[in-house]
């Protein structure tokens, strides 16, 4: 079609251990809002990173306004009129709004920056989108929603005619979302194409004209939003029923022993007055939007971040946990959200990573019993089916799923009775995900108590016996997982009463 501003043809891209994109076609027209949906790991972000030149495709071509182009890097993409707004913004916090919008393109009078011109230009761009912001405000003082507006203005001022928004709504509240939609429609009126990445279906029906669905790196199809049912879309995205992926849940009786509880836990500006109990062998889920205080809560429970008030009880006894070391000694484990930054010492071997939290168990007078260590590690590598050429292989070279299993093995050596999992399947492929789920459920069956934080609603629904939903640092409600739905969780997570 002649009015296709962009066509991506036969795009394939592989990473070690996963085919991220497999022969994907993607088209969009001038002035339309096209949504790109799919579960985590479906390939949405990878496809967009190929488009803006962060990744080079293994195969395939990109046709922009009828011409074949090669996007070597993000700068090139910008020159071609493609801008991307990432979930984490790329603004400089100590510069003001105007300086951020016109960064690198400041108006000059000779060698000197023309400050008054800078502000008036920025102001014009902002007004063009009906955004009420003082161009002289430093960006760090702005809310997340306002920063997003600055990003959109910046993209527009770069003369972009194709703007990609990666999960733009992930931390917006209701009226902020409406305001975002208004801007998107304004962009549309100016003839700009918007690619809107999200996994929130309601939003998509509200804002998009068409929707393209990806699953496991493959194109599932493109639908017209006006004539499509939500259920059709879900079937395309998921392509499987829940019990195919998730292990069977445990029957939780009332006589279960209470293993872990917190009372009145608070930390200024992060979370307030958190109370909950978890029983032996139970998987308790914590759902909520990014920024709702879930990770901060987990870290405070584990003694990794300070808290202001509240008590933690393990097996009915109050425990004074203020360092991770004490948490581990009292029987806790913590699978962190970020594997590379917080979970693994990336340059060390599988063996050395696995025994790190439990060195004292395999040491005598400070000397490590290396025979004992090897035996223990080999056993775990076999039990968890960690795919590594040897236990002395550096974890850096394992796939994401195997790295996650190394982290799990690491906590098992410390023999915990209570483990916190923060986004346990982030960034790992579908096969490895199912393995992690089964391992978690097996642990629960063995009597280990699990607290699972996740942003993926299907995962929360599929794995947890009970679900707590957090909103702005508070527990907004509790749902039994058998009856809970994604809608109910989202309703609570976005502050619905």
């Amino acid at each position: 079609m002649a009015d296709n501003i962009l066509e991506m043809r036969n795009i394939s891209k592989a990473f070690p251990g996963v085919q991220a994109l497999d022969n994907v076609f993607f088209k969009c027209k001038k002035g339309e809002v096209i949504a790109l949906v799919g579960e985590n790991g479906a390939g949405k972000s990878t496809l967009m990173k190929v488009l803006v030149g962060v990744y080079q495709p293994d195969k395939g071509e990109i046709i922009l306004r009828g011409k074949r182009v090669k996007v070597a890097n993000p700068r090139e993409a910008q020159k071609l009129g493609i801008s991307i707004i990432y979930q984490e913004f790329n603004l400089l916090p100590y510069l003001n709004v105007a300086e951020n919008i016109l960064l690198g393109r400041e108006p000059h009078r000779g060698p000197i920056m023309n400050v008054s011109e800078l502000y008036s230009q920025a102001d014009e761009w902002l007004k063009g989108l009906g955004i009420d912001l003082d161009p002289q405000t430093p960006v760090y003082k702005l809310s997340v929603a306002q920063q997003q507006m600055v990003e959109i203005t910046k993209a527009l001022s770069l003369n972009a005619n194709l703007i990609i928004m990666d999960e733009p709504s992930s931390s917006l509240s209701g009226h902020e979302l409406n305001s975002l939609f208004e801007r998107i429609h304004l962009l549309q009126d100016k003839g700009i194409t918007v690619i809107y990445i999200s996994h929130r279906l309601d939003e998509i029906f509200e804002v998009a004209d068409r929707v393209t669905v990806l699953k496991d790196g493959k194109l599932m199809g493109t639908l017209d939003c006006k004539v499509t049912e939500k259920s059709t879309l879900i079937r395309m995205m998921v392509g499987r029923t829940l019990d195919e992926t998730y292990p069977e849940k445990a029957e939780i009786g009332v006589d279960r022993k209470e293993v872990f509880s917190v009372a009145g836990l608070s930390s200024e500006g992060k979370f307030q007055d958190i109370n909950f109990k978890v029983h032996k062998g139970e998987v308790l889920g914590i759902a909520g939007l990014v920024g709702s205080g879930r990770t901060e809560l987990a870290k405070a429970i584990f003694g990794a971040e300070p808290r202001d008030k509240g008590e933690i009880y393990l097996n009915g006894e109050r425990v004074g946990i203020d360092t991770p070391n004490k948490a581990i000694k009292s029987g806790m484990g913590f699978v962190t959200e970020d594997r590379r930054k917080e979970g693994l010492v990336i340059g060390l071997s599988v063996r050395k990573n696995i025994t790190l939290p439990s060195l004292s168990r395999i040491a005598r007078l400070g000397f490590i019993d290396s025979k004992e260590e090897r035996k223990k590690v080999k056993g775990l590598v076999r039990d968890l089916d960690i795919k590594t050429p040897s236990i002395d292989w550096e974890v850096e070279y394992l796939s994401g799923g195997n790295q996650q299993k190394v982290i799990l093995a690491k906590w098992l050596t410390a023999m915990p009775q209570f483990i916190i999992f923060d986004e346990p399947t982030r960034g790992i492929d579908v096969g490895a995900k199912a393995e992690i789920y089964h391992l978690m459920r097996e642990l629960a069956k063995k009597g280990i108590t699990i607290l699972m934080i996740s942003s993926e609603l299907p995962e929360i629904l599929g794995m947890c016996d009970r679900i707590l939903v957090m909103h702005e640092g508070r527990i907004a409600g509790e749902l039994p997982s058998k009856k809970a739905t994604e809608e109910e969780i989202m309703f609570l997570a976005t502050g619905g009463k």
């Binding site: 996963v18 917080e342 010492v345 060390l348 790190l356 060195l359 070279y397």
Partner: protein, 327 residues
């Protein structure tokens, strides 16, 4: 549900490629040392004369000892600029305290080592608990100790070095310098600590990823503080060895050893960001630095040439390792 079967080649992609690079990275300092020794012998045959080897090792001992301490600190992700100033301070204390009397040798030496531990403890506590960057903390400590020295001696150090300490710094038993034996014992001890004990494992982990180590229950502050204590102790000991070697008191004894020790560690293949490096490589680094000095002297070149060569070698070593890593 469909399970993805990983083709082995994609999980471990680049393995074959890495191996030759890995060998160079792990053993680069030994290869460099070997080539340097051969080259030195060819350029100046006197290099292999037993007396020269003896002198060379004698000179390497104090630098070796202080570098071992520096290596612990760098493994933990910091570095210690106060070591040279600490060496000079122990030199002044030893001369003034011993005043040529052998019977004072032990007690004053212990005092110096105690001072080293105290300085290290102070560095470590302020760096971990008050979050002062290692650069600022140890730079401040270096200047502070310098000031104390000058105030105390009024710029003119006094006292003399007793024969016992001179023997430790310069003497030999059966043709082997005593200080070199000491260095060997300390190096072996450090090797054992780093590879066989929980402390060594925790130090590599903390240097490699501070946050992951902390969340795995490692008492990261204690691990880091101990590295500075070890560094302080080693620097004080190196100061005593150097004092015995020089046989005089000098406000600037050991000048430049803070940078030389860091350079030796880096040439030995350790990462300045922490978590990577070996004792063997570090000792090779010390020998490379010392041989470079030695060969310049043997060739009757000006001492300043030494600096030019050393500068090039340090930058070259780091360029080599970073180029390897990015593969």
């Amino acid at each position: 549900m469909k399970m993805r079967v990983f083709p082995t080649m994609t999980i471990f992609s680049g393995r074959e490629f890495r191996i030759s690079g890995e060998i160079l990275r792990k053993h680069g300092s030994y290869i460099a040392l070997f080539i340097l020794v051969i080259l030195s012998g060819i350029i100046q045959p006197i290099f292999f004369h037993p007396q020269n080897i003896f002198n060379l090792l004698l000179k390497a001992a104090p630098l070796g000892v202080v570098t071992l301490g520096q290596f612990f600190v760098i493994l933990g992700g910091g570095f210690d600029l106060s070591v040279a100033s600490l060496m000079a301070t122990t030199n002044i204390i030893a001369a003034a305290g011993m005043y040529g009397r052998d019977e004072m040798c032990l007690s004053v030496s212990l005092l110096c080592l105690g001072l080293g531990i105290l300085v290290g403890l102070t560095n470590g506590l302020l760096i971990t608990k008050r979050r002062i960057p290692p650069f600022i903390m140890t730079l401040g400590m270096m200047i502070f100790l310098q000031g104390v020295r000058f105030v105390w001696t009024k710029g003119a150090p006094f006292g003399t070095i007793p024969p016992a300490l001179r023997f430790i710094g310069k003497g030999s038993i059966g043709g082997i310098p005593l200080s070199v034996v000491l260095l060997a014992i300390l190096a072996i001890g450090s090797f054992v600590v780093l590879t066989k004990t929980t402390y060594g494992r925790q130090l590599y982990s903390t240097g490699g990823n501070w946050e992951a180590a902390r969340l795995s229950g490692v008492n990261v502050d204690r691990v880091i503080i101990l590295t500075y204590i070890i560094s302080g102790f080693m620097a004080a000991l190196a100061g005593l060895l150097l004092t015995g070697y020089l046989g005089l008191s000098d406000n600037w004894a050991g000048k430049g050893y803070e940078l030389k020790s860091i350079a030796s560690v880096v040439i030995g293949g350790a990462a300045l960001t922490g978590g990577r490096g070996t004792i063997g490589g570090t000792i090779a680094g010390v020998l490379i630095m010392t041989i470079l000095d030695n060969i310049v002297l043997l060739l009757n070149l000006e001492v300043e040439i030494q600096m030019i060569v050393e500068g090039i070698v340090i930058i070259g070593a780091v360029a080599f390792y970073t180029a390897r890593k990015s593969h």
